[in-house]
Symmetry: C2
């Protein structure tokens, strides 16, 4: 059996677990790869730290670029992270030097995935990034290979475990966003600076990658419509529950329409609605497969290293495909156009003064925009604080409902910006 030599850059939780698996499950992994998988060099900031694997015969560097001085390294596993900087520099140089690259770096791939893949093709090597999307779910392989015979129309899912944890906990414990975020930070489910998660950016990185593979288009990260859960209110979660929905942060990419990270209401009986806690889910809809959904842990040392190891076995055994399922030059330009979006239902919550005539005024606006109401709740009188008028619409265009909401906002009876949330069911997200 020939030897396949590995350099690992970054020994955080995922890097250390990956190294631990490669060394402790050496026999099993080598048998599956058909080659002896041997780590010959690693890089990390802190050399002294105990990381659960033996560093015997493994060179150590503080500077990840030093890994490239090992001419005999076959693959660089990049687990440093960050959109650009040293991670990008390392990957580019590794590919130029004819070394394969495996990475879990979603920010880098969402922004530079096409150019890196092209560089790999030019140098007859491959770059693989299964671990960049939904760790424990082989989401990229399922889409690129398992569903390769399909025209995929929609790829969607719950792509950020932190947001899903927060929304699930707000729903079950009836706590506020701030309370749950603080608790999640204490438990390690949320970062000290949670912006990348709660503003939807992390989920958007993953959706951009999945969209490109699903639609075989060079999806630009900047073309995604991204919003997060920073402004979520327990008020909407409670109303959603009363109406038979639950609130999730969804990623939804529709062929030739849009790729969007948005809060959405999902009927409680749908499969996605039961995906709670820090779990991720990825749902595919296409022809001829109809639809398929996978649920699993999206982050953490174990699930993420599982994805890194799968890439490693594919690369070592020579069975790694083009990362996007075809050469980058064969990907078409991006064709997202929101005008192609199908009509859908919406949830609308309006804070109003408790005066006669308010309902009539709002109803009239909805009528003028030909918007038809599917259900409505108005909560009782309130001494302090506003009264809420909550309704769901029948299917309409996003443009129409947004125009109506603008008009409603101008009313003197409306106390705050109305909250508008799209409703998705399995028919719309696949």
């Amino acid at each position: 059996m020939s030897v396949f030599q590995i350099g690992i850059a970054g020994l955080g939780v995922v890097g250390a677990e990956t190294a631990r698996q490669i060394t402790t499950s050496y026999d099993m992994l080598s048998r599956r790869a058909g080659k002896k998988l041997k780590i010959i060099a690693v890089s990390a900031r802190d050399e002294g730290k105990e990381r659960g694997f033996s560093r015997d015969n493994i060179a150590f560097y503080k500077d990840p670029l030093k890994l490239l001085e090992h001419d005999d390294i076959d693959v660089i596993i990049e687990l440093i992270g960050g959109e650009g900087g040293i991670a990008l520099d390392l990957c580019q140089r590794a590919l130029e030097a004819g070394k394969h690259v495996i990475t879990a770096n979603k920010a880098m791939i969402a922004h530079h995935g096409f150019s890196l893949s092209e560089l790999a093709e030019e140098n007859n090597v491959t770059i693989q990034f299964e671990a960049a999307v939904a760790g424990g779910i082989p989401a990229i392989k399922i889409l690129r290979e398992g569903l390769a015979g399909n025209q995929i129309d929609t790829v969607s899912g719950i792509l950020n475990g932190t947001c899903n944890y927060i929304l699930s906990k707000m729903t079950s414990a009836k706590n506020t966003f701030e309370e749950v975020l603080e608790e999640a930070q204490k438990k390690g489910f949320a970062e000290a600076d949670p912006s990348v998660d709660i503003d939807g950016v992390d989920a958007a990185h993953k959706l951009a990658i999945l969209s490109a593979i699903a639609f075989k288009q060079q999806i630009k990260f900047s073309s995604l419509s991204v919003s997060g859960i920073r402004h979520v209110s327990d008020i909407d979660i409670n109303f959603a529950g009363k109406l038979g929905f639950c609130l999730k942060l969804l990623g939804i990419a529709k062929r030739d329409c849009s790729a969007e990270i948005t809060m959405a209401l999902i009927p409680s009986k749908e499969q996605l609605a039961s995906v709670n806690g820090a779990l991720n889910a990825v749902s595919y809809r296409g022809v001829p497969v109809e639809s398929s959904i996978c649920i699993g842990p999206g982050a953490g040392a174990g699930p993420t290293s599982s994805a890194v190891l799968a890439d490693l076995i594919d690369v070592a055994s020579g069975l790694a495909n083009f990362a996007y399922g075809c050469p980058v030059k064969a990907l078409s330009v991006q064709k997202l156009d929101e005008h192609n979006l199908p009509k859908q239902c919406f949830y609308l919550r309006i804070a109003v003064t408790d005066k006669p005539g308010v309902l009539s005024e709002i109803s009239a606006i909805l009528r003028d925009y030909k918007l038809s109401v599917a259900s409505m709740i108005q909560n009782g009188q309130s001494d302090n604080g506003p009264v809420f008028l909550v309704l769901t619409t029948h299917k309409c265009t996003k443009k129409t409902i947004e125009a109506a909401v603008s008009k409603i906002s101008l009313s003197e009876h409306v106390l705050d910006s109305p909250m508008l949330i799209p409703i998705y069911d399995s028919g719309s997200f696949g």
Copy 2:
């Protein structure tokens, strides 16, 4: 682009849909395979039938073996079905002639998969059978490649759409087994002779295949413990609901323990419990991935042909792996041993006469076997028909509960064979 020539044996719903996809999505599929995918010959019983694809330049045979007379065929897609007979004969000869084989034939693979794969290896070709398990879910690829870095401990799931449809409908509509089976037959969800489905054999074929890949062992089909839903009663479905469970036909294979098709009670809040209708689900538990579950349509022309096309693209592009993830000779012998099974909880329903002392007698037997009761329901008096004593146990061995049930059966107060059903939660089935 070079040409990859295809022969299809069998033009039933899956064969016809596969041919239709290959001809109508020719550009897309060929681009993804990197080769021109061209059907040059087909075989079926009835030549005249309209099947939704153009037969121009495609040779037709009634005898599938005639396909082999085309020396230039690269792959035989076998969609005839049946454990042995002409399907097996065709696949063996095709492999011997150095042609790749793709098949959806779960019975054949469950019984002859190892010898066929060995034959493929000897002839430097490959046999692939993604479509044999859970059509719309790339269940084999996920396990063999997506989770290749794991030691898989449990693979389980809902592997027969007909049974799941019947149990779901009995639960939601509160109908009897006979009523729902008749309706399923009318709707085409069940065969005129439903034995292979309702006796668990079809699910067992799939579980045998998944177990071999998961555990890298030569699992013998005859070693599976197989029972179906033929004796399911709406009485148990109703009691299960009252106790917070739902009843499913599960396939569960545990490394070094057992591979079993059995009715089981699942807590209603579990993901698998919400997999209803004709859907399939496959759940994986391993180290380091933790767990992952995929849900999708298990049968039907579209989902099954999606799996066939995925295999075709892999085979044509030269990226097809060993079917079991390693050469057959590298698979170990089967190591299933029920003595290794962990303890678990059980549901027990006993039909008893409505007399004083019955409960005391049964309680005493349970105590003698050191079985501890987790919950109990006894329904009220009944003028005609028995009274039911229904209980769930805390964790115990299967052997212990079975011995206790044998003892209970001997009581003069017990009117019928007690119904014993295992309880599985996500901790036990992964």
